[in-house]
């Protein structure tokens, strides 16, 4: 008996209760520290959106106000830049999602000359540095004689271009995982080609398309390097922030940042809740 108890006590390392607690929760503590590290900048953005600055030149929390939230467009040029970004974001998302989905279907469902090289080439825009894409695109526009018309449309063309690869890769993965017996079964059950696509293929591929669209929007909204090179006189939101950063950032920028952050969180939480609901239905 005595040997057993002694061996049992030696299996614990000596130390204070606090030390033991830290040892047991080390992974948790490290995880929390990493989270804090990631979220501090976002917290600053949220905090600064309520800031009442004493001076434009010193970035410091001076006092609480709702003024920035109530007058978001007070900062000169910001709202028009934001509108440009959102418009380009929506159109680029629409364009790249439609084109990318069609390409993905072609790549997965059809045999054609150059299919395997296409599969490889589609990765190229994702792998190339943005500065290379942006400058060569600018060179192309200028060479084609559109040097004087850089603006909304050239930005849109550029955004569709770099979003396309992401859409193709996302939709293709979803489509490749689809059992083609399902479409044969639908046809066997009196569904025409069009009905099969609408009733079976599209609903099953839709999550992939939706994901691709969200990704496209955030890539487009976020882009600075390619946009800046091809923008001409047009100003998007990232370009606006870059511009004003040298003269002191208006606090309204933080309002936009906070709103964008909340929208992303809402989408992620919504998707997670939806997934849990479906999982619950499966049990």
């Amino acid at each position: 008996m005595s040997t057993m108890t002694s061996s049992r006590t030696t299996s614990y390392k000596p130390g204070s209760a606090a030390g033991r607690w830290i040892r047991h929760h080390l992974v948790l503590i490290l995880g929390l520290l990493v989270l804090v590290y990631t979220f501090v900048p976002i917290f600053v953005v949220v905090l600064m959106s309520f800031n009442d600055p004493a001076s434009r030149l010193i970035y410091r929390f001076d006092g609480f106000t709702l003024h920035n939230w109530l007058n978001p467009c007070e900062a000169e040029g910001m709202c028009s830049a934001l509108r440009t970004s959102v418009e380009i974001g929506f159109l680029a998302t629409l364009g790249s999602t439609v084109l990318g989905t069609l390409i993905a279907f072609a790549l997965v469902r059809h045999q054609f000359v150059g299919r395997s090289s296409m599969n490889l080439l589609i990765f190229l825009p994702m792998a190339s540095p943005e500065i290379v894409l942006g400058s060569s695109l600018l060179a192309l526009f200028v060479a084609a004689g559109f040097g004087g018309q850089l603006g909304f449309w050239t930005i849109l063309i550029a955004h569709v271009m770099f979003c396309l690869s992401f859409v193709v890769v996302t939709v293709r993965a979803r489509l490749a995982g689809l059992d083609d017996n399902l479409e044969q079964a639908a046809m066997d059950l009196y569904a025409t080609e069009a009905q099969t696509f609408r009733r079976v293929t599209l609903p099953l591929v839709f999550p992939g398309i939706l994901g691709a669209a969200l990704l496209s929007f955030s890539l487009s909204f976020d882009d600075f390097i390619i946009t800046n090179l091809n923008a001409g006189n047009t100003t998007t939101f990232p370009m606006y922030v870059w511009g004003v950063a040298q003269r002191g950032v208006p606090m309204q920028v933080n309002v936009v940042g906070t709103v964008m952050f909340l929208i992303s969180i809402a989408i992620v939480v919504g998707a997670e809740l939806n997934r849990r609901r479906q999982e619950k239905a499966l049990v």
């Binding site: 066997d188 059950l189 025409t192 609903p203």
Partner: protein, 388 residues
């Protein structure tokens, strides 16, 4: 039972035939002929099984009937109508897929209703409820396919096809994914449903027991052609080729020389022992042939023991292997000419059992033997049975 027409194309007009008829159907994938000049008649209301090893063309044949593959040559008619090139959704044929292919985003009710909704049927709700009742899944109607067990999914796949009352229901190895016990009960279940609804069923399988249990007619396929077709008992008792003899159950095939073809029996010299085979069971054209006998038809006894067979006794056997499998004991007996024959003896308790090394004599009733052409490979189709 053998209401099925013979394989040579009949002169009867295809238009007048009310069942499913395949004529000279060939399907090539590149240089490989999956189905080779196949003729097949399936009378309306019958249950036929296409039986064969994997790669014999049975699934390709089924997919051509479903419209999921287009024949390279030949024609397929159903009730006199040519459907060779019709789209899958244009033919009154439904398929139960091997993987079930249930729509994962629709619940069981909508899966079953799918075909009726596409055809704008008025009575969807009543029909779906009746069908779910038939396959005993009423309580699962609002669940998604992923929530059901394999056996339940199988029944949904069956219900989804049956509800359309197709002229022909195609079953592509539908029980392959189920465990043995469930498979046995589903075999009887599908047979019951077929009798109840009276539709034509074409069932593809590589499981000979399944084919014989379920179907009225079995067509044994090998290398893209139908080797033999008939009622399960006819096929088993009177195989016409070594492939059928080996693939459907087991057979002992012993080399022999035909001596006399007169009258009701053909007499054969088998390594010095004269045996006779009924003429209607003789499928050999040349002078030599394989004498075939099923292991359970072979009688085994100690030298000099009285065996219940009127024919000659074959002496000189030595038991080389004994396996006891409960209902029977299976012996391997080495014969004087070096071949090992297999013998199944029922464990009725009347017989003495032998141990390896014992000297034995074999015999069988002549009416159970059959004679096959010597040009055929004696081991054709044999391996597959062991794999099952």
């Amino acid at each position: 039972m053998s209401q099925v027409a013979e394989q040579e194309p009949t002169t009867a007009d295809a238009e007048s035939y009310d069942g499913l008829r395949l004529r000279n159907v060939t399907k090539s994938f590149g240089a490989f002929k999956a189905v080779d000049d196949l003729d097949l008649d399936v009378p309306s209301g019958s249950f036929i099984a296409l039986l064969g090893p994997s790669g014999c063309g049975k699934t390709t044949t089924l997919r051509m009937v479903a419209g999921l593959e287009t024949p390279t040559a030949g024609s397929i008619t159903l009730g006199g109508q040519d459907i060779t090139y019709a789209k899958p959704y244009q033919r009154p044929v439904n398929t139960v897929f091997q993987s079930y292919a249930l729509f994962p985003h629709l619940d069981i009710y909508e899966n079953v209703a799918f075909g009726l909704r596409r055809r704008k049927s008025k009575e969807v709700d009543t029909a779906v409820r009746d069908m779910l009742e038939l396959v005993e899944l009423t309580s699962q109607a609002r669940k998604k396919p992923a929530q059901l067990s394999g056996g339940q999914q199988q029944r949904v796949a069956l219900a989804r096809a049956l509800i359309n009352k197709p002229e022909v229901l195609l079953l592509d190895e539908p029980l392959g994914a189920l465990d043995l016990k469930l498979r046995r009960s589903m075999q009887l279940e599908i047979k019951r449903i077929q009798t109840e609804v009276g539709l034509t069923f074409v069932h593809v399988t590589h499981d000979q027991e399944e084919a014989m249990t379920m179907a009225d007619t079995v067509a044994v396929m090998n290398a893209g052609v139908v080797e033999q077709m008939g009622a399960p008992a006819d096929l088993y008792e009177n195989p016409q080729s070594t492939f059928v003899a080996n693939f459907l159950g087991q057979s002992n095939l012993i080399e022999g020389t035909i001596q006399n073809r007169g009258g009701d029996v053909v007499t054969v010299d088998m390594h010095g022992i004269g045996v006779s085979v009924p003429t209607e069971r003789c499928h050999a054209d040349s002078d030599k042939g394989w004498v075939g006998i099923r292991p359970e038809k072979v009688l085994i006894g100690a030298p000099g023991e009285e065996l219940d067979a009127p024919g000659n006794t074959i002496p000189g056997g030595v038991v080389t292997d004994v396996s006891f499998v409960g209902v029977s004991t299976q012996y391997l007996v080495r014969m004087p000419w070096g071949q090992e024959l297999s013998v199944f003896q029922q464990n009725t308790g009347r017989h003495t059992s032998f141990v390896p090394g014992d000297k034995v004599e074999l015999s069988w009733r002549p009416e159970y033997a059959f004679l096959l052409d010597f040009s055929q490979d004696a081991s054709a189709g044999a391996q597959k049975v062991d794999a099952e």
